[in-house]
Subunit: 134 residues, 6 copies
């Protein structure tokens, strides 16, 4: 299995609901350093997993929808805790949609799996991984 990983980041505000979150129930924020790994079993004719430039652009666009925002005000997330693991799946879902739209080029249709990891600090991170064609 081959993979390519690209990194970018996003800075957001949010709050959580539920006693398990303790002080994180207050409005606070986070920088998420985001790693996205694209996997496929074989390389294309150019010898790549995915056009890394397009992959980076797609990630930047996905993160751009949330960058410098208070996620508590994003209608799509109403009633949900925008935890790190939840956001990892959101990024995953949007990258899958980008691949299907052809934003990463025709070769990206061979990407089999994606793993999205959000590092919220030097001591904590969360990830979501899944099949592109599930």
């Amino acid at each position: 299995m081959f993979s390519v990983t690209v990194r970018d980041h996003v800075m957001i505000a949010h709050s959580f609901r539920g006693a398990v979150f303790g002080p994180a129930q207050r409005l606070h924020g986070a920088t998420y350093v985001v790693d996205v790994e694209f996997r496929r079993p074989s390389l294309d004719a150019d010898g790549i997993v995915v056009d890394i430039g397009r992959a980076g652009d797609a990630l930047r666009q996905v993160l751009g929808d949330f960058n410098y925002r208070n996620l508590d005000d994003v209608p799509e997330f109403a009633g949900r805790n925008t935890t790190t693991e939840f956001l990892a799946q959101v990024v995953f879902d949007r990258l899958v949609a980008a691949i299907r739209r052809g934003d990463l080029g025709p070769g990206a249709s061979q990407v089999d799996e994606i793993r999205v990891t959000l590092h919220e600090s030097h001591v904590a991170s969360a990830s979501f991984e899944g099949k592109v064609n599930a």
Copy 2:
């Protein structure tokens, strides 16, 4: 598959037996920077894999049993080489026991797999991963 990873560290002394270890047969020591990844296929009602505060506390407690110790003097490890990979499994086993005791909260019972990685330097690490209910 979702996952959450927490990091802590431990500082120990030990020595190894066996020609393969060369100068590491002498009494020496190590800082292990420890990453523990908890995995489960779906999030709980709060939108999390595990209570990250409790997970960090559990890891700290597991490492606390060894921190600032000479592992050659730990009865449990008598006759064993406390290699990085061996210790990764020790941490794994103790975290599984902590989950079963409920130390990480009731939701942690849904954790399916754990991966423990010990970084012994900037150029070497070892890990153990396994099913929680094996």
Copy 3:
């Protein structure tokens, strides 16, 4: 010159005023991974720059005042942009006060300089450094 550096982190929300900040004028947030370097020209009788345990505790207490907070609501910061460089100085000032109160032990009075660095992402950081007795 000797130095000791400890690391911790804090997660906050805030917004900026001024066209130079572009989209960061919106309410957003950040994780700051904070490094504090304590410097002095000679070691104490124990062979240390500062009690690293107390130094870490003092840093945790300083950051605790802001952790999981919206800095726009902190009266002390009213009318100020809580930029990364501004916050580096805030942490510096409070650590100097902690040293003067004796929170880091009597030996810490020999600390000559402190450098505080806040990493806001994998590609950006800011710092403030100064004399303790200025």
Copy 4:
């Protein structure tokens, strides 16, 4: 599953053919920081996955064949784009051959899988992983 990971690096020049590579079609270069993870389901009698000294030596030897070279001049790579993902497989193949030759010691024959990751910058990497006995 246990694993051990070792790190080294290599500095090469090369160029790519294909419009997808944009400016990277020009002769340029890269530092690859290379992580190799060796995996096996159980430890040997010494309590290790592989002799980490020999593993590091084997990696150094594999990378030595390319270090400080222009990969465009390496006959073996003629007509191929020496992309990061392609090179990850090259390192994998050569380490598998080294294991079969016994370079990593007799115990290394129990290594089941290898994952090779090449970090080309702080924001991009590629990897290849596979079974040793495929």
Copy 5:
């Protein structure tokens, strides 16, 4: 003293002349992960050292002149070894020129010192620092 640091990278080919360089006399290459620290004694009215967006753009433009190039073919560097330390000074000089041209905004004229660090691997880096108005 306040500072702000931004990071970017560049991928180049080159060769060195001189026995001291050993195998690096051959055509090879490097990824340089570049950190630029801008220092000034006080913050501007917005509470910043420099417009971090403009600083990043200026760095990207400076590195863009070399990115995906063989430095042996750059006329400006004829007869010079483009070592990591030499390139650190080149980046420094061009950023000083950018500040003087006003590319980083009028406030950047208060930047007193710049430190440029090029990381060539996980185990080696070089830097140049100097006064902006020397």
Copy 6:
């Protein structure tokens, strides 16, 4: 001012005397990831601060004297706490001696300052810096 930095590591056991050290008074150990920065105001005729190969060899030799050892048994350190900051100075002193012996080549005599940093974990480090000709 130019600088070049090289990295290596060492794994040791030791214990401390003094109530300030708490549980670290017990025999334990550490991995120190060691960065050494060599500084000089101008480059030599080859365009370098120091022969980086020789610098790395010298560092490896200095660390080799302690690697895989219990520092409590090193006669030279009798009666001293081998704290991270103390060891930083030991490495500094030995590198200065190596430069004076010519181990880093004749050009290294122009090295003006050295800074030695020992990272003992992902959250703590200590350093010593000084003039080579003090």
